[in-house]
């Protein structure tokens, strides 16, 4: 009886793992297969031959560019990095204010920030599209960065607020009685201690910008500012889809995200649960 229970338990775990991993693995495999093999009927489960055709085309090693993925990748990297750095800097200031000061309407402001973040991207995109077009920052990286900074600030405040709370107030107070200014105490004592948590918040912000679609699909119009998620749609025509190409660009999108998440996963959980648990 105990044996059966154990076996069914592991069977369940395996089933779960397959369910979680299979879609991603299938995309990955498909990215390295020639298109006819993907379209084969009945299905060809194990690839007969591997090819990096889609990637060479995307990154134009042959000089022939079907989809300018390299430009999209660069746009994505620049937009996500710059917006993350700005969002973390100003979000950290806000988080510090919430963690260390008591002021009037503190909870209301915090709530207001979170509610601002809850506005669905597509609803926000309508007025942003009109306003950005009017002031001439539509289809620019600057416009997208501006939007992502604002989108990322509330969540950054939430996370960093939690991390600063975990640091005993006394540490900064001791530094200040020793003659540091508040800024010096922050720079030398609190920031290094909260460092890993802030790193996690940064990666969270980066991923949000990296993965965002609804707003970018409206604000970006051409190769000039399109990011990878928008560029992915280049493979999608009305009636035909270049499956292998889409899988390839999906791999380009997912690999950096996977690496970054693995680096910070521990801090991410403790940040979201206000350090209430040890990760």
């Amino acid at each position: 009886m105990k044996q059966i229970k154990k076996i069914s338990f592991w069977f369940l775990v395996m089933f779960l793992l397959i369910l979680i991993c299979m879609p991603g693995i299938w995309i990955f495999v498909s990215a390295f297969r020639p298109n006819p093999e993907i379209l084969a009927k009945p299905a060809n489960w194990i690839p007969d031959r591997w090819t990096i055709h889609q990637f060479t085309q995307m990154f134009s090693i042959n000089g022939y560019v079907s989809v300018p993925a390299f430009k999209y990748l660069m746009n994505s990297v620049i937009i996500s990095s710059v917006s993350t750095v700005i969002a973390i800097t100003i979000g950290m200031m806000g988080g510090y204010a919430f963690a260390r000061f008591n002021f009037k309407g503190k909870n209301k402001i915090f709530l207001g920030l979170m509610l601002a973040r809850a506005v669905p991207g597509i609803s926000l995109s309508l007025p942003l599209f009109i306003l950005f077009a009017k002031i001439g920052i539509i289809n620019t990286s600057f416009g997208v960065i501006l939007v992502y900074v604002a989108m990322n600030v509330p969540f950054t405040i939430w996370l960093t607020d939690g991390f600063f709370r975990q640091i005993p107030k006394e540490m900064s107070e001791v530094a200040r009685t020793d003659g540091c200014t508040r800024l010096q105490a922050f720079w030398n004592v609190e920031l290094p201690l909260a460092g890993p948590g802030i790193g996690a918040a940064a990666i969270f912000a980066f991923l949000l910008s990296w993965n965002e679609y609804a707003l970018a699909s409206i604000i970006t119009r051409t190769v000039h500012s399109k990011t990878l998620p928008i560029g992915m749609m280049d493979y999608l025509d009305e009636f035909t889809i270049n499956w292998a190409g889409m899988c390839a660009i999906a791999v380009v999108m997912i690999v950096p995200a996977v690496i970054l998440t693995f680096i910070v996963q521990k801090h991410l959980v403790s940040g979201l649960t206000f350090g209430g648990v040890k990760g």
Partner: protein, 296 residues
Amino acid sequence: MNRKFFSSPALLLLPSILAIGFVIIIPLLFSFYTSFTSYKLTRPDSLYNFVGLRNYERLIDNVKFWAAFGRTILFLAVVLNLELLFGLGIALLINKITWGQRTLRTIMMFPMMFSPILVGFQWKYIFNDNIGLLNNFLYLFGYESAIPWLIDKYLAMGSIMIAEIWANTSIFAILLLAGLLGIPRDPIEAARVDGCNSWQVFKNITLPFLMPFIFIALTIRSLDVGRAYDIVHIMTGGGPAMRTELLWTMIARIGYKDANMGFANAMSYVSIILSIAFTYYFFTKLVAARRELGQQ
């Protein structure tokens, strides 16, 4: 403008508030205004054509809008409940494992890294009636007629829900597992000594302890429910025959395809209020939960 106003927290918060004010608050005020005009993108001067509540009246009379609204509520209700349930199940399962737990936890985070647009594409690929993984798999078992997962009016909604659940269950699982790992052993052992069975232990000790974590997860999720737009947009685009049209895809269609911004903005206000009400509810629960966590 006294000195108190410019005490440091106000200064520290200023950049954040400026950014949010410029990108979120001002555009929302502007769209609130346009929702009272007959603004069409193709006719810029219509921005000043004030029509009062007509857009909202049209909304109330619009059967398609209410269908999309109802569908959105249904979608969120089904998806969030199942995500919570599966997340709890997975967390309990992994909590029992002693060997390789950390690795499993890492693998579990996999779907969290996928952009919603990628999740949509991935499931569009799997559910494709002709070359999809699922139909190919069924073919192996002799089921040779292709099931039109994304074309059939009932199956399409279910397929989208599956994609959404795949993408977001792990957030619940991860956070609830963090909660489970923090549960003190003593009360559970005491309860067992007193003769409680597993279900009683779960109901009376584990679940109350997990409640704050459930609200944290729900709050985080409620911030992002609008991102379901990406998944639906790429998987079916609201089709077949608007059977999977949610509020968000309808807003995009009326705003950008039909260029009817006034009407679309009126509609998007409904979706904004929906999201905000949602987040507000869970957030108030969260604040209470946070206080509870702080006490421990």
